[in-house]
């Protein structure tokens, strides 16, 4: 039976959808894109600090997902974890390539980032956080993004980053402390002085 877009059950797992895609259901691909792309794009952007590169990473990661679909084994991994892992590795490749060609690893405002003229405190905070994230080491930034922004559990992050849970805890804690220090002089701008 064909499902309408609005019939697609939200309790279908990503793995089920991937298998349905592999079996010929193209609407499952749309559901997967809708579900997975924002988070993967967010992670990639926060790590790479470049919107265009982040979108390329997402596209590459999704291509790999479509290709593995016929062989997907749902019991082996969650699709989202697998996709985070692939995207993170693609991000790491790009970070290494930047260093090879001598590009700075610093903050570079994305072309389409909304300006501060929007005047929204939340945007001020997001921009400040993004800038501060760029000052962290690659591994700290990856751990902080996955733990505190993407909201993943430490064991899942450990799987994605291919490190121990203890290392995740250490990296995310040190990264968070570094952010807190780096952002301290912006406390008033960030709206933390009126409490």
């Amino acid at each position: 039976m064909t499902k309408m877009p609005f019939d697609r059950s939200s309790d279908q797992s990503d793995g089920d959808l991937l298998l349905q895609y592999a079996a010929g259901d193209t609407s499952a691909a749309a559901e997967l894109m809708t579900r997975l792309t924002p988070a993967i794009l967010g992670m990639s952007f926060r790590i790479l600090n470049d919107r265009a590169e982040a979108e390329d990473v997402v596209q590459d990661a999704m291509i790999r997902l479509w290709r593995i679909a016929p062989d997907w084994e749902p019991e082996r991994a969650q699709v989202s974890t697998w996709l985070y892992k692939v995207a993170l590795n693609l991000c790491r490749d790009r970070l290494r390539a930047r260093r090879t060609v001598g590009m700075p690893d610093g903050f570079d405002v994305a072309d389409d980032a909304p300006s501060a003229a929007q005047g929204m405190l939340a945007k001020e905070r997001t921009d400040a956080l993004q800038a501060a994230l760029a000052g962290l080491s690659d591994r700290q930034r990856q751990a902080v993004v996955l733990r505190h922004i993407e909201g993943l559990a430490n064991p899942e992050i450990a799987d994605i980053m291919a490190i121990s849970v203890e290392a995740v805890e250490s990296l995310s804690a040190r990264g968070k402390r570094a952010l807190a220090t780096a952002l301290a002089d912006q406390r008033e701008t960030l709206g933390f002085t009126d409490d």
Binding site: M33, A39, L41, E55, V58, R125, T181, F192
Partner: protein, 126 residues
């Protein structure tokens, strides 16, 4: 007032992270179109009988969408045409390839048009 703290408090950091989480990245229309083309191109071929069944389902789906929500018919058509345009590239191919035809006859364009009206407008050149 001069602030003497040399780092933000945990609660303040939590508010920063919350602000970031509350502003999820929205994929661009171009990215969605590229991914749609990839998904259509890389989808494993289905057996003939299943394909025939899928085609029948597709027609039924199209009829149902048009019938239930008439106003969706034109943007869905634009999305389909637009996605096909993306798929076949810069227009140098005068006839639809098998893959482009496959995308045209897939549900993906309908799904994307339904989920992302902005993509529909983009693909429709608006």
């Amino acid at each position: 007032m001069t602030d003497t703290h040399d780092s933000l408090e945990d609660l303040e950091m939590a508010q920063l992270f919350q602000a970031a989480r509350a502003q999820p990245m929205v994929p661009s229309q171009d990215l969605m179109a590229r991914m749609a083309a990839d998904a259509a191109a890389l989808q494993p071929p289905v057996v003939t009988s299943a394909a025939q069944g899928a085609d029948a389902d597709h027609l039924s789906l199209w009829d149902r969408v048009s019938g239930w929500i008439p106003q969706m018919a034109w943007p869905v058509g634009l999305a389909t045409a637009g996605l096909t345009g993306v798929w076949i590239g810069s227009g140098t191919v005068p006839v639809l390839s098998d893959q482009a035809q496959s995308l045209l006859s897939s549900d993906l364009a309908y799904e994307l048009a339904f989920r992302m009206p902005s993509l529909t407008a983009y693909l429709g050149g608006q």
